[in-house]
């Protein structure tokens, strides 16, 4: 090999490695925008107190003068603004559509001049499951383009939901990612980042984004659906023998159905799930996806389906195969006994005579910090295991007592789960409010769930209204009642 040939090959290799980063920059400068989200931030144990918070994240321009971004950190927003080119003027934006379970949002800007010079992106479908990609974001007015290694495409719990969704995992040395930066490959967007942990970056994959956007455009987005059952792998032959499944090991075993109000499950514990939506299920719970290979069966709940769709399944039950049609349950925080999230509404509460009542929810428990599962009262955390029913939809807690002569002797009580008031079962603040309209012989009888520090409190019904007004004034509460369905005031 002559030296000249060797040098030219070397230059060629360097060019291959350096060129894409340079070539990428100009393309994404006109497609990536910066978003400023100004939000309310509420205090878990003093729900009438609100602070303000502001975050900066990113979005990509799509057809129809729209911006797509992740839904995270847009909740409880007051003002949304966007900026193009990484510097210069900020434009007021409005939210056109948002779904927290899908962790996606679509925004627009009324001022037409904003769209001048901007170029819509194309979402890749399918996404590459290996190889290199680039993360693109604005940083101090300059477009930052960083290299990442695609690790795998897998199914996992979504950022804001209990539904398992496809996730693109990438290895990276980048710091502070997870703010909906664009992940790009060649000329297309393959995902929007949703989280970063150490050297691992997670993104919402483009095929999922595109499927949601298409459904929204066609007015066919009915919310994410999911399978409301637990299953176990079928690796123990003794279990399959017990369930009388002949032949090779296959399928997974349903172990428990999660009750959802209004949903009657056609699947039963100890069913062996053999096929879902035409795909065979192996003993690890995977099916063979035509585009991405082995994927967990939960993917079939969002692969071209939305809540309410009926998915054909083949199950082995009582020694025989049978076909069933499983209706996908809609992901809905309010259908949970203890809602895992509650967005775009101020925290609900009812204050009566200094006693502050709040609906028990995961955001409430998160008032104990990141380690809330360990730090919050066990008897409250445990209620997360309960399923809502038609007659018992949730739980209200006495969260604290604002000291006043009226509630003397009760000031040390807090975090007590309510059972009934004046003999009426209380599942939500509306129940509580109604129950307080029916005192018993001039007293309000408040009863708490077993195991609480006290089972009962009594209040003087005649003095209640005055005491409530006095406490509101002393502690500067704007109101004594915020309903759970109240709109967030921007």
């Amino acid at each position: 090999m002559s030296p000249r040939f060797f040098i030219s090959v070397l230059i060629g290799i360097l060019a291959v490695h350096l060129m894409p980063a340079v070539a990428d920059s100009s393309q994404w400068e006109t497609s990536l925008v910066q978003i400023e989200a100004n939000r309310h931030k509420y205090e878990a144990f003093q729900p009438w107190s609100r602070r303000t918070s502001s975050n900066t994240k990113f979005g990509v321009v799509v057809e129809g003068n729209q911006i797509v971004t992740t839904a995270d950190y847009l909740f409880d927003h007051t003002v949304l603004r966007v900026q193009k080119g990484g510097r210069g003027a900020w434009y007021e934006a409005t939210l056109k559509w948002i779904d927290y379970h899908a962790n996606l949002a679509v925004m627009t800007v009324k001022q037409t001049s904003f769209w001048d010079g901007l170029t819509p992106v194309t979402f890749a479908n399918p996404v590459p499951a290996t190889g290199e990609a680039r993360l693109v974001r604005w940083s101090d007015g300059r477009l930052e383009v960083r290299r990442l290694e695609i690790n795998r495409l897998r199914l996992g719990r979504g950022a804001l939901t209990y539904v398992d969704l496809p996730k693109l995992e990438l290895d990276s040395e980048i710091n502070g990612a997870g703010w909906s930066e664009a992940i790009v490959h060649e000329n297309k967007v393959i995902g929007l980042t949703s989280a970063q942990s150490r050297s691992k970056c997670t993104a919402v994959p483009s095929f999922f984004i595109q499927s949601v956007l298409d459904a929204v455009a066609e007015d066919d987005f009915r919310g994410l659906g999911y399978f409301n059952f637990y299953w176990k792998r079928a690796e123990n032959p003794a279990v399959l023998d017990y369930l009388q499944l002949p032949g090779n090991k296959r399928g997974v075993i349903v172990t428990e159905i999660i009750a959802v109000p209004g949903h009657e499950s056609v699947i039963r514990p100890k069913d062996i799930l053999l096929e879902v939506d035409g795909f065979e299920i192996d003993i690890s719970g995977d099916y063979n996806d035509p585009e991405y290979g082995k994927m967990m069966l939960e993917r079939l709940a969002t692969r071209g389906h939305w809540a309410g769709d009926k998915i054909p399944m083949t199950v082995w039950r009582d020694g025989a195969s049978m076909e069933i049609a499983f209706e996908l349950v809609k992901a809905d925080y309010e259908k949970e006994y203890l809602p895992s999230a509650r967005f775009d509404r101020p925290p609900a509460y009812l204050m009566a005579g200094g006693l502050v009542f709040q609906p028990l929810s995961e955001p409430y428990l998160k008032g104990w910090g990141a380690e809330w599962k360990r730090r919050a009262p066990v008897r409250l955390v445990r209620l997360k295991e309960r399923s809502a029913t038609e007659t018992d939809s949730g739980c209200v807690v006495l969260s604290l007592v604002l000291p006043d002569p009226y509630n003397l002797g009760y000031q040390n009580y807090r975090n007590l789960a309510l059972e009934s008031v004046n003999g009426r079962q209380v599942s939500n603040l509306h129940d509580l409010r109604q129950a307080l309209d029916h005192p018993q012989d001039a007293f309000h009888v408040i009863e708490f769930m077993p195991g609480a520090a006290t089972r009962k409190m009594i209040l003087d019904a005649q003095l209640l209204q005055n005491a409530t007004q006095r406490v509101m004034s002393n502690y500067r509460l704007p109101t004594d009642y915020v309903d759970v369905m109240a709109e967030s005031a921007p």
Binding site: A238, Y242, R374, R379, N407, G409, P450
Partner: protein, 469 residues
């Protein structure tokens, strides 16, 4: 002054140094035992040629050696009585000459707050006897660490009480006014001693040759301070009466009703904050019941339906919550086909490590400590764990490898270890079906293969018996 007091009575001659060689069981693999451990403590001579010390000084003892003041000869001692709930034990010495020339120390009365007390013992940091002095800081009901789930009267002092002092006497006016027993980690100048009322209760209890313990009323009191609540219950006397909030024993359920107000217990007026005035100290009202002996009747006055009512309440030692406290009996277990079943207990949870309450998971904590109060209808008297899986071909394909709560076996709900054994041994079907709590599903075993493998598994893992009950 302190030296003069001692030389007058020379109580240190009756203070004994105790050396214990102990071995605790392994609660995770309950047929195994941990390493032999050596520890030291103190004790003192009481009437009847006996030594009083702490229960925790002699727990799990394999051998107890005792030494007299300034005498290096060890003597072998035995535990005559032990009360883990009050952390007191009585020892006897095999060699009767041990007590020659030793005067038993008399038991005094509850010392007053701010009065001076002296501790004598053999704390860590030296071989010789040690004397410290301090004042009585306060007197109240506190949690006794030895059982972990019992609270009794205790005295706080600023006299130094260090490891090795445990079991030693606290002296005032030549009499024992306490047995040194525990401190509070992180707090300086706070030591605690067991006061005479608890010591005397223990001594009275063992007079019949066996120890029963401190009884409870089976009620949980709640303060009754709010005027509206007192009006609601038609209480006319504003100075006394606390509400009986929860009935925790069958015995209490037979005598009390919802919304009863406890006015007086064992002759003590009960204040609205659920305390009584005991020997000049405002303490939790529960002490009024624990003063009685097991099976005795305690006179109480309650307010019910606008009237005062007198009741003679029989009180009993609570034995139903033993799993929630530290136990001092060998762990119960049953091994079948490599599956190790053992009761869920505080001792078992401790196998998760020092930080066990955070590591074990909320499900197990709830099952052991909370369910009986929050959901009594579904609580189990002795929740059973599949603690570990001894690997063998017959169980190798099981996904669950241990540390899970057993819900049912062969369709029978498991409320105790006896239930688990019965459900397995009485089953005649082709497979054993074991279902677990906490959404962990179930597992199966081929019954014939499991029966055949059982003996070999025990042999492979060196387990002498398939059960310890």
């Amino acid at each position: 002054m302190f030296a003069l007091l001692l030389s007058a009575a020379e109580p240190e001659k009756s203070v004994i140094q105790i050396m214990t060689f102990s071995q605790q069981p392994d609660w995770d693999e309950p047929w195994n035992a941990r390493q032999v451990r050596r520890s030291t403590g103190s004790g003192f001579v009481i009437k009847g040629n006996r030594i009083m010390t702490n229960a925790h000084v002699v727990s799990w003892a394999k051998q107890i050696q005792v030494r007299r003041f300034q005498d290096s000869r060890p003597h072998i001692a035995q535990v005559a009585f032990v009360g883990h709930d009050c952390d007191i034990a009585i020892l006897t010495v095999d060699d009767a000459t041990f007590f020659e020339g030793l005067e038993p120390l008399p038991i005094g009365v509850l010392p007053e707050v701010r009065s001076v007390v002296n501790t004598i013992g053999y704390p860590a940091g030296g071989e010789q006897i040690s004397y410290t002095s301090g004042v009585v800081s306060r007197i109240e009901i506190i949690n006794y660490v030895q059982p972990g789930n019992r609270s009794l009267l205790a005295v706080q002092t600023d006299a130094a009480i260090n490891p090795g002092n445990s079991g030693g006497p606290v002296i005032q006016d030549g009499k024992v006014v306490g047995v040194a027993f525990q401190g509070t980690p992180g707090l300086e100048n706070t030591g605690f001693f067991i006061p005479p009322p608890v010591i005397q209760h223990f001594l009275k209890d063992v007079e019949d040759g066996s120890y029963h313990g401190f009884p409870q009323a089976g009620i949980r009191l709640a303060p009754l301070i709010n005027p509206a609540f007192r009006d609601f219950l038609k209480l006319t006397d504003p100075t006394r009466g606390a509400r009986i909030d929860t009935l925790t024993s069958d015995s209490a359920k037979a005598f009390f009703k919802e919304d009863d107000v406890l006015l007086e217990a064992n002759g003590y007026p009960v204040a609205a904050d659920a305390t009584i005035l005991y020997e000049g100290n405002q303490v939790n009202g529960g002490i009024a019941f624990s003063q009685a002996q097991h099976g005795a009747k305690v006179p109480v006055k309650v307010w019910r339906d606008g009237k005062e009512l007198a009741i003679d309440l029989p009180v009993h030692v609570n034995t139903k919550d033993r799993l929630e406290g530290n136990q001092y009996a060998p762990p119960r277990y049953y091994v079948y086909a490599g599956l190790v079943f053992t009761p869920l207990s505080r001792d078992y949870l401790a196998t998760f490590g020092q930080n066990w309450s955070a590591v074990a998971g909320i499900g197990l904590l709830y099952e052991l400590f909370y369910r009986k109060n929050t959901e009594p209808d579904t609580a189990r008297s002795e929740p059973v764990m599949l603690s570990t899986l001894l690997a063998h071909e017959v169980n190798a394909n099981m996904e669950i490898k241990g540390r899970v709560l057993v819900d049912s076996i062969n369709g029978k709900r498991i409320d105790s270890l006896a239930d688990a054994i019965g459900a397995i041994e009485s089953h005649e079907g082709s497979h054993h079906l074991i279902e677990f709590g906490e959404r962990l599903g179930f597992e199966c075993l081929d019954r014939e293969a499991a029966d055949l493998a059982n003996e070999g598994i025990l042999k492979t893992y060196g387990i002498q018996s398939d059960r310890q009950l």
